[in-house]
């Protein structure tokens, strides 16, 4: 099986095997073996939860270095709107966009504009198509992966339109090439990303073949340099063109607001999203039109690769949005964008089979029974010391052959006590008197 690419990975030397991340992983994708964390590739959804919680900063995200943009003669920066909320006291988006040009980019194209186009496309779909209810946002790749892994029966609810960053890159590249008369392969599009999930989605797109992006640079990486540029007085160029709704996609609820969907629900934080998806599976939310679920608390402003506290960033974005005209993307975006670009998915979103115990249902049932039997023999403390997140997970690992009974330290202790007792008994056994 080909190894799936993940942005999230472990810095081995920093990991102390403390099991903090083990407990927090929403797909039980982490094990601690031989004193170090391991990520089970097929289960990881790159949500960044482990990056946020690791006390030793051993979980990191692979992103592209700023220097990598020099691979291309022409470079376009595509900042996630989340970037706008990272700077205190910056009064206008143009300052930030101009700052990006000073980092070595030839052009900037706001992903917020991509969000405007996607908003319009979704509104169009909601109006004209019969769609499952509720429709689930595809904006957060961690949530789409979560659905593939844990809620495959909800896949057909997912929006089949590409993400704002992809749409932005398609438009940015074409417009830049036309305006400057250069071939497309000379132009590199770089997403300024709030999270590892987006990085992975660029490497392994979901729903379409190749990404239109050529790389992803984390907000954290450019934060220092960019804030220095912004603070230096400079003539600001007029670059911002998106609507306030496109900008609003950075915060939780921003997508619903952009869609002007009355009957919608926005949820941030992966555990909360999981609970809502459970309800959706039970058809308890079928009166809802739209569901925006994001892995991060507060939405992308809470992304693992951002600098600013998510609540402060959210407030900063709200302030930037306040003076902008109240223009709906539906009105602001020309319909030609919907016609002229490949906005819609060309590949199906496939369920992941990683949660199933075996290809063959009979064999899966046998394993399940074995797991239930083993679980009954385990103490049920869910302490994580064995390296599996719960006793039940250890039982599963044992049934699948990844772990053994003595990985449970409580079982081991019991066994040692028995052995000590036996040794004691042996030592007390009087010697057989020798025959005279």
């Amino acid at each position: 099986m080909p190894k799936t690419y993940h942005s999230v990975r472990l810095e081995k030397e920093r990991c102390r095997g403390c099991t903090t991340c083990l407990k927090r992983c929403p797909t039980e994708a982490i094990r601690v073996w031989d004193g170090r964390a391991h990520i089970l590739d097929e289960r990881c959804i790159d949500c960044g939860e482990c990056i946020n919680v690791c006390p030793y900063h051993a979980k990191v995200a692979t992103t592209d270095a700023l220097s990598s943009i020099s691979r291309f003669p022409y470079r376009i920066a595509l900042p996630a709107p989340t970037l706008y909320g990272q700077f205190r006291g910056v009064a206008c988006i143009d300052d930030i966009l101009t700052g990006l040009l000073h980092l070595g980019f030839d052009a900037v194209f706001e992903v917020a504009r991509g969000a405007d186009i996607v908003s319009k496309a979704i509104m169009d779909a909601l109006r004209h198509k019969t769609l499952p209810k509720p429709l689930i946002s595809a904006a957060c790749p961690a949530i789409v992966r979560l659905i593939q892994v844990r809620f495959p029966d909800l896949i057909d609810h997912i929006v089949d339109i590409r993400q704002p960053m992809e749409v932005a890159a398609l438009v940015a590249k074409r417009e830049f090439c036309q305006a400057n008369d250069v071939p497309e392969d000379q132009v590199g599009c770089f997403f300024i990303t709030p999270c590892p999930a987006k990085v992975t989605a660029i490497r392994n797109p979901i729903g379409h073949e190749l990404s239109a992006l050529d790389g992803a640079i984390s907000i954290l990486e450019i934060y220092g340099m960019l804030s220095a540029k912004i603070r230096k007085p400079m003539p600001t160029e007029k670059l911002a063109t998106s609507t306030l709704f496109g900008v609003g996609w950075a915060k939780g609820g921003g997508e619903c607001a952009a869609l002007h969907a009355e009957n919608s629900l926005a949820v941030g934080g992966i555990e909360h999203v999981i609970r809502v998806l459970e309800e959706m599976e039970n058809n308890k939310l079928s009166d809802l039109e739209y569901f925006e679920g994001q892995a991060c608390i507060g939405g992308c402003v809470g992304g693992a690769l951002t600098f600013e506290n998510s609540y402060i960033a959210k407030n900063a974005i709200r302030k930037l949005m306040a003076p902008m005209p109240d223009l709906s993307p539906d009105v602001a975006v020309d319909t030609k964008y919907l016609r002229n670009y490949p906005l819609y998915n060309t590949l199906p979103i496939l369920p992941s089979s990683i949660m199933r115990l075996d290809e063959d249902i009979g064999e899966a049932m046998r394993k399940l029974e074995q797991i239930e039997t083993i679980t009954k023999t385990l103490p049920g403390y869910d302490c994580g010391a064995c390296g599996s997140p719960t006793c039940h997970a250890l039982a599963e690992d044992m049934a699948l052959g990844f772990a053994g009974e003595m990985d449970c330290i409580h079982k081991l202790k019991g066994r040692l006590q028995d052995m000590a007792q036996q040794m004691l008994e042996i030592s007390h056994t009087p010697r057989t008197p020798r025959a005279k």
Binding site: P152, E278, E281, G362, E369
Partner: protein
């Protein structure tokens, strides 16, 4: 072959644990690799039947039985039973209390939805004794 059997006790009025039995059932089916569409139908039906035990019955249990060609959910309770099953099966018919309604239950769609989602649906009830519902889903 015997397959998987699990029993989930459900308490009357147990709102704090409402939905746990059906959530576990769902998880088991996913681990077994049961088709996503079937899982979805079982999820809907078993959630409804679990909530009916909590809201309308004096307590009972859900039984899950899976073999290689079907998923069977059986609900068995200790009363009070349903006096008129045809009436209870009607869309919108509900005897849910004000309390249950204020929690968002009592739309009277539970039984009709179970019937719609299951491939086979059977209900028997003895007033004073209890209600038994059996639902089969082909896999």
């Amino acid at each position: 072959m015997s397959g998987i059997r699990e029993v989930f006790p459900v308490e009357a009025g147990g709102f704090t644990t409402a939905g746990e039995a059906s959530a576990t059932i769902k998880q088991i089916l996913k681990k077994l690799g049961v088709d996503a569409g079937v899982v979805r139908r079982v999820a809907v039906a078993s959630y409804e039947v679990e909530l009916n035990l909590i809201i309308h019955s004096l307590g009972g249990e859900l039984l899950l039985h899976v073999d290689d060609h079907r998923v069977r959910i059986t609900s068995q309770d200790r009363g009070p039973g349903i006096p008129d099953i045809d009436l209870a099966m009607r869309e919108g018919y509900s005897t849910a209390s004000e309390d249950a309604r204020s929690l968002g239950f009592g739309a009277g769609m539970g039984l009709p939805n179970m019937k719609r989602n299951a491939d086979q649906f059977a209900i028997t009830s003895d007033p004073g004794v209890g209600t038994c519902i059996q639902m089969d889903f082909n896999i």
